[in-house]
Amino acid sequence: MTGTTLERDRRRVSSPPPSVAFEPRRRGMRIPPPIVLALVLVPFLVEAVGVFWPAFQGVALSFLHWNGIGPARNVGVQNFVDLFSDPIFITALKNTAIWIVLFGGISFLAGLGVAMLFQSERRGVGIYRTALFLPIVFSLVVTALIWGTFFQPNGVLNNALDAVGLHSWTRVWLGDSNTALYVVIVAALWREIGYVMVLFIAGLKALDPSVQEAARVDGATTWQRFWHVTFPQMRSVNLVVLSVLIIDSLRSFDIVWAMTKGGPYHSTELLSTYMFSTAFETHALGYASAIAVVIFILAIAVIVSYLVRALSEEKES
């Protein structure tokens, strides 16, 4: 990510010795003419009007009781109090937690695994990598439809189970509240693992190879080299991947909406889908805003740690 790729570019571009590089940079950063302020302010205002202002409104809405048509009523924190006695909200919260652990955890481990496997440039590796990250370009709806052919009642999986005499194992995968969530996670993983692999490969490429070499000379085994040398060196990449996965998990919506709409019986309901159906099907706008605020609060720790990293990286250079 930014830390790795950009930093490499930076080193390459600004190669003159530091004493020389430092001086002109200071002088080069001139006081901005008015046109520059305009170049910065216009995009900033576009984002302010299109993102920050609505975000504040979203928080304000969460304290209202409002169906979008009649008069709104201020109810204070009642929406938030109600959430925690709402069994569907609790289910959505639980499913979101399962989603973070399974989707996030498996993406992380599998992505790291295939990155280690396919990191070195050798014959054939390009094809394998392409196979893994091709799904990234498909929309989550396309992904959902692709996997739908697998998990439909007459889909590939049930046909295959029948063919090998395991008829008793067949089921309506997406219609069964015991399996639906895991089926959706499988589809989501198919699309995410290649992405995580790309992030890890970029991170691995930025590591100092001489450390590896030293461990090798000292007779460390492949596993020892990974566990005691490579993995600790990858701390910052790991943190980036983890924050990406958590933010992605909290935002996950499309794939669930396309496969199950949160059903059957809310068994695949995530906070994001529950928020959407509460807002645009039930029209409980205040209540839905409260769910959105909960999603925001859950994301905040990750966002802040991400920004702190971005800031420190910024200062270093």
Partner: protein
């Protein structure tokens, strides 16, 4: 697992006989490719099933099941999805939204990144982080307020609203990435241009922008697929089904053709083609961009 066994053997102080070393290397290579092929097949298989299904007739799928080898070949599925399914209109809608969104948001973010990275703009670090923070906000926070604002502004249920929202939401991230890239461009170039009498706008357009082209290409390819693939904003802001972009249109098609998988498969293939083309054409920048773009 099988990281460069050849070099291991060369450097390792273990005294293996050369024949054993050779055999180990062959075993490792075979193991590597077997694993690679199995993983690739597993990843390609679902795509292949959909591709094959899209060319089969309804009767063939019903009679032989979806997992069987094809007994028929037809293009009727595509004709049906294209005409009755309204996919043509949906693709046009997607392009009307995606292309302007990508261009406008990259122009705006390049301008902001230029100002922030090349001049001592007051509070530039704060501005940059605030902009990035906006992109990290969960979209759910914005759905209801933006639906309301677009209703009040009388642009609800228009493609223009979709463009405006996507531009506003994307800018922060693109600015952050382009800022990181632009500050690596040596100041000497800018100084030389200034001495030659170039003004701010000319420096931006003729010096900095051309040098930032790799980053802009990467972001362009990435954002094309992000916006083209979006579902949530379209179903929030659009109501008329003729206005839906392809991602949302394909999903509603699934409801109409619930048992006719070959038509849905054909529609799925059509929906996947544009972003696949962008990916194949810009493959290198695309992957580079993903590594930059890990916020998304």
């Amino acid at each position: 697992m099988t990281i460069a066994p050849a070099t291991t053997a060369r450097v390792a102080p273990l005294k293996l006989s050369s024949r054993r070393r050779g055999r180990r290397r062959i075993a490792a290579t075979v193991g590597f490719h077997t694993t690679g092929i199995i993983i690739s097949l597993a990843w390609f298989a679902p795509i292949l099933v959909v591709l094959v299904t899209s060319f089969r007739t309804f009767d063939d799928v019903t009679a032989n099941g979806i997992a069987s080898l094809p007994h028929t070949f037809t293009l009727q599925t595509y004709v049906q999805a294209w005409n009755q399914g309204g996919l043509f209109q949906a693709l046009v809608n997607s392009m009307i939204v995606t292309i302007p969104t990508v261009i406008i948001s990259l122009v705006l973010s390049a301008a902001a990144a230029f100002g922030l990275s090349r001049y001592r703009v007051p509070f530039r670090r704060t501005i940059l982080l605030i902009m990035l923070a906006g992109n990290l906000l969960p979209v759910q926070m914005l759905l209801i307020p933006i639906a309301r604002i677009t209703q009040q502004a009388n642009i609800f249920d228009t493609l223009g609203a979709l463009i405006a929202v996507q531009v506003a939401f994307g800018i922060g991230f693109y600015t952050f990435v382009l800022y990181g890239f632009m500050r690596t461009i040596p100041t000497e170039l800018q100084e030389a241009a200034t001495l030659d009498g170039a003004g701010t706008v000319r420096i931006f357009l003729q010096v900095i922008l051309p040098l930032a082209r790799p980053a802009i290409a990467a972001l362009g390819a990435l954002s094309f697929t992000w916006i083209f693939n979006d579902l949530l904003w379209s179903i929030t802001l659009l109501q008329t089904s003729e206005k839906l972009p392809i991602t949302a249109a394909v999903l509603s098609l699934q409801g109409q053709y619930v048992s006719s998988w070959s038509v849905i498969a054909a529609a799925t293939v059509v929906a996947a083609i544009p972003s696949t083309i962008v990916f194949l054409v810009f493959q290198r920048s695309f992957i580079g961009g993903l590594a930059l773009g890990s916020v998304k």
